[in-house]
Structure formats: structure tokens, C-alpha cells
Symmetry: C2
């Protein structure tokens, strides 16, 4: 039995004052309307209408039930409207996971800008380099720096990420400037600890091949910003994303090395679960980010000119 349909039909009958009328208005056969009423009455064990073969009149019970039905159906519609709209508008919260360094340095300003444009959206930002489970922890969105996106998730590429081998002038003066990848084995290396393989660095050689070079981790840390400081302080060689070190390179406190070798297949992605219904605020935010990071990233502009 379809309670909802029956209640709706009952309301129609009450408001039309006849079964035929209600059937016409609803576009169904009057036999269907008659049966629904009968079903309702049997379910309730109550006579809803006084009837002759030609006329129906609400009973007291019917009148009381009618008012309740109207209220309930209004509530249902209101709940559906609210739920659908919460989704369709740019209201609500957005729980975003983002990597610490990229998040602080580049997502922060972007998010602030977005918030100014969309003040109804509340952000819940989790700056964290570990891989969070989007679904599990209820994230709407995550920002990832990765080679290829997770295929089980939707990914929008935000910006290319290049890794730059670099060191401080002081370090280079003390340990010499590496002339080839092979030289790296003799250097102190500053390594990001949450990488999959912290014993090797990968480079795209100018010839097009992929070079995997064994390195000696001198200092491992899970904070990009801490490692950048370490590099500036001359503690070792760094192979960092350009978005971390671009200012130091501009400023000359870090010097790029072996720049014929690159690592250009890394990207910053916005990823989100493959849901049937993407909330509009996720879409809006991702669209905003894609647009904002479009083209050559501002942190790479000095390097490429």
C-alpha cells in the first residue's frame, strides 16, 4: 500500500468533493481513486466518508484525518524542497583535505578569495599530508599532489607541479655544485618523509628517459616548509616542488641545479568521490580553483622566463 499516494488522493477527493472530480484532476481512473480510499479506510479501520452511490460526505474522523494529511504532505514537500535546495544552492559546508605546504602557500589565498565571493559556504579545512579516505571521513573534496589521479575518484587537474633540485649558495660553496645525477650520491639530501620511496629521486632526463637516482637521506621530515628552511640554511640538497621554493629561488637564497632534468608529470589535483549527485558547492569550488590555477602557475613564471 502506498500510504503517500493514498493520502494525496484522499486530500484531492476532499478538496474536489467527489471521487470523479479527484480522478479527473489527478488524471487517473475513478476506480483507482475509489480503491485508494477504500484501502485507506481499511487501513485506518475508519469510515472517512459517508457515502451514497452518488455523493460522499466527510465523516468527523475523515475531517480530522484530512487536516493531518494536509500538514504531513506539506511537511514532506518542505523537507524535500529543503534537502534539494541545500544541495542546489551555494549554502552549506565544504570539508576539504589539503596537503600542508601547498595548502598553506597556495590554497589558502585561493580559498580566502572564494570565501569572499561565496560567504554562505563554510569551510572545514584539514591541512594534512597523509592520505585521507575521502568517504570514510566525510570529506567533500581533497587536494592532492600526485602523478596520476586515483581512478576511483573524480579528479580535476589544477596545476602542473615541477620538482626543482636546489640548494643554498652556502651549501654549494661548501660541498660543490653537482654536475650530474651521479654526483647526488655524494651529497646530503633533504627528504620528504611521506613519499613512497625516500631512498631515490626520479628525474626526467633531457633525452626523454626516466632516471632513478639513489640518494642519501640526510634529513627526513614530513613538513615541506621545515625542509625548505633547512635547505635555505644550507643543510643539503633539496628536490622540491617549485611551488615551495620559488620565492627562495627568485630571492637567490636557493639555487636551482641540473635544471635540464625535470619532473613534470606531477600535478595538483582536486579530487572528490564519484557520487551520483555532486553538490553544487563542490562543483563551484572546483571550478573556481581550476580557473584560478589555469595556465602557467604564478610560482613557475619566473623560472620559465
Amino acid at each position: 500500500m502506498n500510504r503517500f499516494e493514498n493520502m494525496d488522493t484522499f486530500i484531492r477527493v476532499v478538496e474536489t468533493g467527489s471521487i470523479s472530480g479527484a480522478a479527473d484532476r489527478a488524471g487517473v481512473a475513478k476506480s483507482a481513486v475509489s480503491r485508494r480510499l477504500k484501502e485507506l479506510e481499511e487501513h485506518l479501520g475508519v469510515q472517512l466518508f459517508h457515502r451514497t452511490t452518488r455523493r460522499i460526505n466527510l465523516t468527523d474522523s475523515g475531517r480530522a484525518y484530512y487536516h493531518q494529511c494536509v500538514r504531513i504532505l506539506e511537511d514532506v514537500l518542505e523537507a524535500e524542497r529543503a534537502t534539494s535546495q541545500a544541495h542546489a544552492t551555494l549554502k552549506g559546508s565544504l570539508k576539504v583535505a589539503l596537503p600542508a605546504t601547498f595548502g598553506h602557500m597556495h590554497m589558502g589565498p585561493a580559498i580566502n578569495e572564494f570565501i569572499l565571493e561565496n560567504p554562505q559556504i563554510e569551510f572545514d579545512l584539514d591541512f594534512n599530508d597523509r592520505a585521507v579516505d575521502l568517504m570514510q571521513e566525510g570529506f567533500d573534496l581533497a587536494i592532492r599532489i600526485a602523478k596520476l589521479p586515483d581512478s576511483s575518484l573524480i579528479a580535476r587537474r589544477l596545476a602542473p607541479v615541477e620538482l626543482v633540485l636546489c640548494a643554498s649558495p652556502a651549501y654549494l660553496e661548501k660541498h660543490g655544485v653537482p654536475q650530474s645525477l651521479d654526483d647526488l650520491a655524494n651529497h646530503q639530501c633533504l627528504v620528504y618523509s611521506l613519499t613512497r620511496d625516500s631512498e631515490h629521486w626520479l628525474f626526467n632526463s633531457p633525452q626523454g628517459g626516466l632516471e632513478k637516482t639513489r640518494i642519501r637521506p640526510y634529513l627526513k621530515a614530513s613538513s615541506g616548509e621545515f625542509l625548505r628552511c633547512a635547505a635555505v640554511d644550507g643543510l643539503g640538497l633539496a628536490y622540491f616542488p617549485s611551488f615551495i621554493v620559488f620565492e627562495e629561488i627568485e630571492r637567490g637564497t636557493l639555487v636551482p641545479l641540473l635544471s635540464e632534468y625535470t619532473c613534470s608529470d606531477l600535478n595538483a589535483y582536486a579530487i572528490y568521490p564519484q557520487t551520483r549527485h555532486l553538490s553544487q558547492r563542490v562543483r563551484a569550488f572546483v571550478d573556481f580553483l581550476v580557473k584560478r590555477f589555469d595556465g602557467v602557475p604564478y610560482w613557475d613564471r619566473c623560472l620559465h622566463t
Copy 2:
């Protein structure tokens, strides 16, 4: 789509925390549960759950919708409970149509007694001798004095009604005592005007036949009590129900005539519409009346002893 069923399923899933669990608890296949959720989400255009292949987590929208669903379903149940109970309990009103004289003289005390036992029931009494349309005017019940009950209605026989031919001693002294039915033609007759045929009186003869006697209506009125007074005042012969005149006969202010002729196929009935669901208060009231009028009516006891 069965909205309430889907909402109920959704609630079950939320409370169980899993689709399989909800399916088990509801005793349906999990595919059905899965489909219902999908249906709901598509209807709302909103993702209700974050899902992996193995786990589901409420979204913000889902949580908000959940609370509304719970409230709405409670309202539905409450409405149904209230409607069913109003019917099942002895609360509510009872609209009764009853003939004026019998109503005043015999139903009145009965109703008063019933009210004392069931103070929650409110009565709406229409004392009226015309034939009302039960459905049309929303009556729950009517009391009728009739030979046979209307077949389209449910009738419970309350009491036999006998007609008694009588007149006041003064009238008889003046006009003589009728010795046979044929004598009636020479008498002044007091006639109830709402009868079908006010030109004839019908009698069951002691031989078992039916005698139809032409009479001369001297005074016609639609009030039994008025006619009774007229009879007592010696205005003519009366052929009245014993329940109207029994006190006068006991007192001797009216004298029964030709008492070998009777009219015993009349009855007092409680009638009510043939509804699928008889309200309990109607049933209770009718049961009460049947019990109260059981046996030889008190107004006839003196006549039969």
C-alpha cells in the same frame, strides 16, 4: 514510487548503519533497500550517503533529511493512531435523528442514562418526525417507528410497537362506544398527519386477517403529544402507539377500545448506514438501546397483564 516506504527504509539504513542490516531488519532483499535509496536520491537530486562498495556514511544533506523523515513518519503514525482510536474509543460525537414523541418520552431517559455511563460521548439530537437522509445530513444513527426496516440500511429492532384504539370516557359517553370496526366510520378520528395514508386505519383482526377501515379524519396533526391531549380532552378516537398513551390508559383518562384488534407488526428500530467501518460509539449506543428495550416494553406491561 512509495515515498513513505522509501523514507522508512532510509531511516532504517541510517539507524542500522548499513544496507544489509536494514534489509535484514525489514525482512527484504538488500537489493530492494539499495534501489529505494537510489530512488530517493534521484528524486531529491541529492546524495544522501557517501558510499564505498562496503560502507555508507550520511552526508550533511542526508543527516538533515533524516531528522525530517523521522519527524514526518512519527506524524503519520500519530495521525493514523489518532484517527483509528477516535473510532475505536467511545469518544466523539453521535448525531442521532429520532421521532419527536417516542424520542421525548422513551429515548430521552435512555440517552440520559447512556450519557451518564459514557460521558465522553457528545450527542447531537434531532427530534424530527420527517424522514431524514442519514448520509446526506451526516447522521450516525436514526430511530424509526416502522413496519419493516429500510433494506439499504442496517436496522436493529429495539421494541415492538402496538397501536391502541382509545378515547376519553367523556367522548365515549357522548358518541357511544364503537362495537366493531364498521362503527369507526361514524366517529371523529384524530390522525397523525405524517402517515402515508391518513384516510385509513389498519388492524390485525383476531381471526388473523388484516382489516383496512376507512376513517373520517376530524383532526390531523404531526405531533403525537398534541393529539394525545386532544384525545384526553375528548376530541375523538385515537389509534396511537401504546408508548404514547399507556399512562393515560393506566390513569383511566383514555379507555382502550376493541382490544381484540391489534397492530403488532410495527417496531421501533435503530438504523444506521451500511458502512464498512461502524464506529464503536454507534455500536455501543445501539447495543445499549437494544439491551434497555429488551423484552416486553415497560409501557406495555400494564396492558398485557
